[in-house]
Symmetry: D2
Subunit: 363 residues, 4 copies
C-alpha cells in the first residue's frame, strides 16, 4: 500500500521537501468529529524546529483544510490537509555532483527511483513529510480523548541521560502534552539539552529512546495473526525517519529473565481486571488487555552532521567525502515525539474503528 | 487483513491447537518453483519440540499439500498446506472453571471473542499455528536461495549467555541452518541448554534475543512510507507468539550514541557499493541498500510455567491462583528461530515480487 | 489480493479440480454465529449437478470444518472448510497434445502460469471451486437472515424463455430458496429445462440471465468512491465462471430513457422512506437507500460443448479442432444461482461488518 | 479502502464540489514517466461542460502538480494533483429545508454521514470529483500508449440513437480521442445532440451506453479469483456517477444464445494467437487473452432535471416535491466517456504493474 496506511481509517501522504505542497488525506474518519484548529496548530508547533537545539529552517506550517470539513466538523469523506512549502533554499542542494549523505536515503532512493527522485532537501524522505501526519494526528488525538483514550510520549533517554520512569500515567501524559521538550524529570531537561548542544558543538548529533503510554484503550482490540497491536503499531512507527527499534512493555529490557518475572499477575481490582506489572505492555496474544499500551522507540542520531564523512558520489559512484552543509538538527528526538503520538493516535483510531464500526466515534 | 499478510505474496493461516487441521494458504507464488518436501520436513523438524529442553508433546507434523502443486512444482495458484492435529489431550484443558494463564491470551481472547473461542491448548493463539508458517516458509526460503538470498538466525542471547557475533555472514548462515540448536559459538550451546534446564528445574522458563541476517537482497527494495522494510518485517514478526521487541541494525544498542558513530560510511568496493559498518541494518529510508538486513527479536520467556501465579477465573472473574499443568516448554526461543526465518523469507519474497513482478522467481 | 476478497470479512479460496482438496478460509466472522450443517449441505446440493440437465460427474461434496468452529458456533477465528476431491477421472484430461477449449481459460492459464498450471479438469479455474464458496456462503446467509436480510436469485431468462418478474419479494425469495430449479413462474421451469435438453441434443449449451434480490439491508451502507455497493458486488460476482455482465436495478434495460422515467420518486410511507420505483436497484451514489438491492448477472452458455470447434494445440500453438469429450453441463445457470446468492451474502456481510463493527452479528 | 483504489498503482481522491480543493494522489507510478501537461489539459477539457448540451457551470479546471513531479517526469513518489474550486454559487444550495433530489445520493449521504456531509453541489458525490481522476488518468494513458496500449470510448447508444460498431479498432480509437463528442458515425453526432437538446427542452435528461476498447494489453494479465480483469475494472467503473451496468464482450447482448455461437474460435494467425470473434471481450477465466478488451457501461440519465418530482424533505422526512433549479446537464454521457477512459487506464496500469513489476513502465 506504500504511502497509505490503515484499514478502517486510512492515511495517505504525499509531497517532497521542496515541491509546492506536502499533505495528507485521512479517509474513514467518523462524521461529526470536532476539527480543532488551535490544537492542530499547537501540535504542529511541537514538531517545528525552534531554538538553538534545532535547525535554522523554521517553517510556519500554514495549512489548508482542503476537503472533508464542513462547519468545523468532519464530514466523513476524505479530509485533506495541505501544507505549502516555503523558505526553501533549493540552491543549497542542487549540485551537479551530489555525494550520498551517510545514514540518509540518498543512495537507496537513487537505486529505487533510478535517479528520477526529487532529491532536494531529502525529497519525499524528508522529515518534513511528518508535518501533515502531525496535523492529521491532531484530529485523531482529539477524537480518542473524547473516548477517554490518552497518549503521551517522553524522551526516555538521550545520549546517556535518562528521564524518570512514568508514574501516574494520565497525570504524566497531561504534563508531557503541555511541554515543548517532553521530559518528566525537570532536571533531565537541561542536561539533555546540554547534551544536544554539546553534540552540535562537536559538529555531530545525538539520538535516544522515546517511551509512549496509551491509556484507556478497551480490552479485546487487535488480532492474534497478523494484525497484532504490536505489528500494526510497529509497522506505522518504523515509517518515522530514524526509528530503528520498537518494543512493547519490557521488551528487550527484560526478555532474558525468567517467566515468573516477566509474566504479569492478573487481579480483579474492585471489578476491574488489571495486571500488577505491565511487562507485556498492555497486549497479550496481539490483543489489548485493558492495561496501558507501553511502547519504546529507538531514534537514531540525526544522520546530517557537519563532520566530514566517507561516502560516494551519486553520479560517478566514486568514493568522495562529505561534510554536510546547510541547516540541520543536532537531534530530532524531541521533535519526533509528537510524530510518535500522532502515528499512535491514527493507528489506535483505525483499530477501534475496524472493531466497533465507523460510527463508534460519531460525536 | 487479520490472518492474511502480504501484498504480492499473501499468506493466510487458520486452525486451532485442538481442531481437526491447522494450515496455511500461500497465494502469489510464482509458477514453476521447486517444492522440496525433504526440506519442508527438515524445517518442520527444527520447530518441533525435542529432548529435555522441550515440551513432551511431540507432533509428527505430517502435512498434505492440498493444492497449488503439480508435478512437484508450484502452479502459481494458491498453495494450501494442511497439518492434522494429533496427540491432543483435550481433557488437560477442558475444565469448568478455567483460570487465565498470565502472559497468555486467555483473558484477551475471551474479551475479543466473547467466550466463543476454542480455548483448548491455546486455540488459535497456540504456537502450534507456526508449523504451517514454517512449511510455507520452506518454499520461500528455497526460492530466495535460488536468487542468492540467504537467511539465518541464531540465539544471540539466552538468559545471561551470549553467542558470538556474526562474522562471515554466509558461512555462519549455512552453519546455523544445519543445526538444531542455533548458536555460532559451540561453547554457548551447552551453557544455554543448561540455563534452560535450570529454569525447568525451578518450574520456570527463560527467554532471550534472536538475531537474523538476510544476505543478497538487492538494493532499492522497500518504500519510504509506510511500507518500509522495517515496517513490513516487524509487522509480520510481531505475530510470532512471545516477540515483544524488534530492531534493525544497531537499534536500541547504539541509538544513544553520536551520529558520527551511528552513520555507516559508504564506499565503492571494487565496483560494489558497501558500507563499512552496518548500524542501519541494510536499510536506509525504509529501502534496502544492498548490505545484509540485520534484525534482532526479543523473545519473552514462555509464559507457561509450573510455578503458582496470581490470576483470575475466566468464569467468575474472581481472583484465583494457577500452577499450569500439562506439557510446556521451559524455553521456546530455540524453536522460534525457524519461525523467524520463515516469516522473513515470506516477507522478503513478497517485497521482491511486488517490486520486480510475479515472474521474477519463475524457474 | 488475488484469491482473497473482502475487507472486514475475508474469503480465501484454494484448490484445483483434480487435486487433493478444494477449500475456503473465512476470516472475520463474528464469534458465536450458528454453524448449521444441514443448511450447508442443502446449499451444496443446490450447486451440485443432478439429473439429465447436468453433468454426469456427481460429487458428494463431503466437507470438513477444519477450523474456526467450536461447539457448533463460530469462534471468530478463521473458519476453514475443506472438500476432498473424489470421482476424478484424470485420464480424461491428461493428454500429451492438449487443445485449448474455446471460451475456457486453457490458453490464458498457460500464458499466465507458463505451463506449470494443473490443467486437469480446468484446475483452479474449474467451476468446482465454487463449492467451497457455497459452503462459506451458507454461514453468511444464515447470519444475515438473523438480521432480517434475505437473498434470492431466479433464472430471469434462459435462451428465449423468461421467468415472471419479482412480485412480493420476500415471499418470492422464500419460494426460490426451497427450489432446486429457481424460477418463479412454474410454467417456465419445464420450458427452460426443455431448452437445456434441446441444446444438449444439439451437442451444444445455452446461457441466460440471473436476477437477484437482497432485502433488508439498512440504508447508509457503501462508499461513494471506490467501494460502492455496485463496485464491491460486481467485483466479487465477476469471479463466478461465465458471468460477463452485471447490472443494478434497471441497468442496461432502461438507461436510454429519460431522467423523469429513470429517477425513483421518494416517499415517506408511514414513517419509512421508500421509492415508488426501484430503477436504481436500492443504491444511490454507491450507498444503500434501504430499498431492495436488485442485481442482474449475464451468465454465458457453458463453453464446454461436444460440437467441433476451431482452436489451437497448446503445445505447438498450431491450429487444431476440438470436440470436447467427457462430462459437462449443457447449462450451468441453474447451478450458478446458489453461487450468486453466496457471493452476495459474503459481500453484504463484509460491508455491514466494516460499517457496524465485527460484533454487530454476534449472536 | 474507500477512496483509494488499486494494488500496485493506487489512486486516492478527495474533495467536495464547493470546498477549497478537489484532488487526487497517484501512488506507485514508475519513476521517469513523462508528465505531459498539454495532454492533461486536453483531457480535462473533454470532461468539462461546454455548449448548449452541457451545464452552465464552466470550470477552468486549473490544476497544480503538488508533488511527485520533478523536471517534468514522475519521481516515483506520490503524485498529487490539486484543482481549486471556483465559480461556486453556494447560495444555490444552502437552503434550510433541503429536499432530496431523486436519483441522487442526498438521502443516502444523510443516512451514512448523519447530516454532517457537505451537501453543497453534491459534495463528495459530485461528478466534479471525476476531474482529478481524468487528470491522473492522462498520465496513465500516456504511459500505456508508450507500451502500445490504446484506449478509446464511444457513445454506443444515446436515447434511441446508435453509433456504428467499432471497425478498425486502433484507427477508431485514434479518431475518437481527437473528438469532443465521441461517436464513430458522424451522422449520429447531430442526432444524438438533438436528442439531448430535446430532453433539455422537455426539462428532462437522457442516458445511454458507452463502449470502450482497450487494445495491446498482453495476454496472461488478471487473476481467476477474485481479481479478474472484469472484477477489477467493474469495481472501478461503478464509481463513476450514473453507471448502473457493466458488461464485457457480448455480455447481456448474447448470453441467451448457444455456446457454439458465444465461444470464440481460436486461431494461430501467422504466429499470433487470436480469436475470430470476441464475445468474451478479450478475457477468459478472468485473464487477458491478448484480444482487445471490450466493455460496455450503462450510464443512466442525469438525475438532475427541472421537472417536478416527488420526494421528501431531508429535515422533516415529510413528503415534498422538487423541481431542481440551478445549472445541470441534460446528459453527462458525452462527458463521462473520458472518465471511463481514465478509470480504465489507471486500472490497466495497476494490473500490469502488479504483474510485471513497478519498473516495467520506467522510461
Amino acid at each position: 500500500m506504500k504511502n497509505t496506511f490503515g484499514q478502517s481509517l486510512q492515511i495517505t501522504i504525499f509531497g517532497e521537501s521542496h515541491g509546492p505542497f506536502i499533505g495528507v488525506v485521512l479517509d474513514g474518519l467518523a462524521p461529526g468529529l470536532d476539527v480543532d484548529e488551535d490544537f492542530i496548530r499547537s501540535q504542529l508547533s511541537l514538531r517545528r524546529p525552534s531554538g538553538a537545539i534545532s535547525t535554522a529552517r523554521v517553517e510556519a506550517d500554514e495549512y489548508t483544510l482542503a476537503s472533508g470539513v464542513f462547519k468545523n466538523k468532519t464530514t466523513g469523506t476524505p479530509l485533506c490537509i495541505l501544507i505549502p512549502n516555503q523558505n526553501t533554499r533549493s540552491e543549497d542542494y542542487d549540485k551537479a555532483n551530489r555525494v550520498a549523505r551517510p545514514g540518509h536515503a540518498d543512495y537507496t532512493a537513487m537505486c529505487k527511483y533510478h535517479g528520477f527522485e526529487d532529491y532536494r532537501g531529502g525529497g519525499h524522505f524528508s522529515g518534513r513529510i511528518t508535518a501533515p501526519i502531525v496535523a492529521a494526528g491532531a484530529i485523531a488525538i482529539k477524537a480518542l480523548a473524547q473516548k477517554g483514550i490518552l497518549i503521551g510520549t517522553h524522551i526516555y533517554k538521550l545520549a546517556d541521560i535518562s528521564d524518570r520512569e512514568f508514574e501516574d500515567l494520565n497525570e504524566d501524559i497531561n504534563a508531557l502534552n503541555s511541554k515543548a521538550f517532553a521530559v518528566l524529570d525537570e532536571t533531565a531537561e537541561g542536561r539533555m539539552q546540554e547534551a544536544i548542544l554539546s553534540a552540535a558543538k562537536d559538529a555531530d548529533s545525538v539520538g535516544g529512546i522515546l517511551e509512549t503510554a496509551i491509556t484507556g484503550v478497551p480490552e479485546g482490540v487487535g488480532e492474534p495473526w497478523f494484525d497484532t497491536v504490536e505489528g500494526i503499531l510497529s509497522h506505522a512507527l518504523f515509517s518515522i525517519p530514524g526509528i530503528k527499534g520498537v518494543q512493547f512493555g519490557a521488551g528487550f529490557d527484560k526478555v532474558c529473565r525468567r517467566g515468573s518475572e516477566f509474566n504479569d499477575p492478573i487481579r480483579n481490582d474492585n471489578g476491574s481486571i488489571r495486571t500488577t506489572t505491565n511487562n507485556n505492555g498492555g497486549i497479550n496474544g496481539g490483543i489489548t488487555n485493558g492495561m496501558p499500551i507501553m511502547i519504546k522507540c529507538a531514534v537514531k542520531p540525526t544522520p546530517s552532521i557537519y563532520r566530514e564523512q566517507q561516502s560516494i558520489c551519486l553520479n560517478t559512484l566514486e568514493n568522495a567525502d562529505i561534510a554536510i552543509e546547510g541547516r540541520h538538527d543536532p537531534a530530532i528526538i524531541h521533535r519526533a515525539r509528537v510524530v510518535v503520538d500522532s502515528i499512535c493516535a491514527l493507528t489506535v483510531y483505525d483499530m477501534l474503528s475496524a472493531r466497533f464500526g465507523t460510527d463508534w466515534f460519531v460525536g
